[in-house]
Amino acid sequence: MITVAKTGNEAMAEAMRQINPDVVAAYPITPATEIVMIFAKYVADGLVDTEYIPVESEHSAMSACVGAASAGARVMTGTSSQGLALMYEILPIASALRLPIIMCEVNRAISGPINIHCDHSDTMAARDFGWIQIFSENTQEAYDNLLQAVRIAEDKRVMLPIMVTTDGFIISHGMEKLEMIEDPIVKEYIGEKKPEYSLLDIEKPTTVGALDLTDYYFEHKMPVIEAMKNAKDVILEVGKDFEKKFGRQYGFYEKYKLDDAEFAVVVLGSASGTAKVAIDQLRASGVKAGMLKIRVFRPFPAEEIAKELTGKKAIAVMDRSDSFNTCGGPVFTEIRSALFDSQNKPSITNFVYGLGGRDINVEQIKNIFESIRNVGKVPVVNYIGVRQ
């Protein structure tokens, strides 16, 4: 291990250098730009063998990724917010063609109004496209998740594209301590890509991306559904292997003082660091507070999460985006659905926070705990940190 100080973007760029993909196609967008800028310098300095395509839009970035991955290449890209939105059309094509493209996605609010800061509205809007989605709390997780992403996505049982996310500016531009794995060890860890098919296989010509009428479209979605189920096993296997090799533990989620907690928050991404401080303070004053930090949002580990939360008195689900459905954010609806069949289910309340980079602090999270300790006193869906 090499200990360095890196921002989230720098950590992801370093992981990309170590992965040394065959092709990278990317277009600049704040706050993900830096990942590609740093990587472009690696290309310019000959530190990687990658064919780098500086495309004219994110739509073309994802299109080129699909082309390159169909040719059998290991492919990466990075984007954020509007850039991810411009890719939306191509994202489900990548999963349908079973192309394990790896994306560094820096969570940023979707316009409008235009805003460059963190929330999860971009990634959440991409949740139903057959991509694996992994959230990172900090720089270290961003780095570790990206390395594991290669193994997860390219596993024969999975063969799905994957996005590893960090929170815009909070993680992407925040400098933290990073334990990096040595280059040759990473190379050995990720191994060579063995594609299922390649367009460049002239001897065995394949037609990729055919038209399905009503008689085959449904059938072609089933393998993606199945692969997403398989991804659950593979994510855990890869996490265990990573822990064995490098000492850091990864599963579907992280529990923080959860097992004996009576009250818990469910959080994704950087706000979980803040929540940990709030929980420590509450514990010191005798409140049995805890947290479940979701790492893997797609596939959604519903059964596992339900087991962890069943029996708690009350749960607060923190959503950094809204679904505009009048009944809660995307994480909330998943969690509530996951708990539907539980015998001893807790009361569940939704707190939408932090839109457009609005800060979330320890006091606010303590207030969330205070709210759910008075079950029935607050609405099901709450908006915190907004001037009302």
Partner: protein, 95 residues
Amino acid sequence: MSKLMNWKELPPCDTLAAKTAEAFETGDWRMGEKPVWHPEICIHCMICWISCPDSSVTVKDGKMTGFDYKHCKGCGICAKECPTKPNKAITMEKE
């Protein structure tokens, strides 16, 4: 029409083997006329072959050998383009 596959029988990764369309016969699209080859007039210029939308002019070793009626849609381009004079080596005739 072949039997419909269930999802576990599909080729992997939404791929499809080349040339499978050969099994799909479009010959029944013809509207009552088919091209007829007159080998005694044919000069094997191959203009019909290059002009056919349906790869239905059969050739061997650089010579025309006839039509693939399983796929020929009867558009008539081959007969129209056939350059032999005064009689054409391909004519459209009632089936």
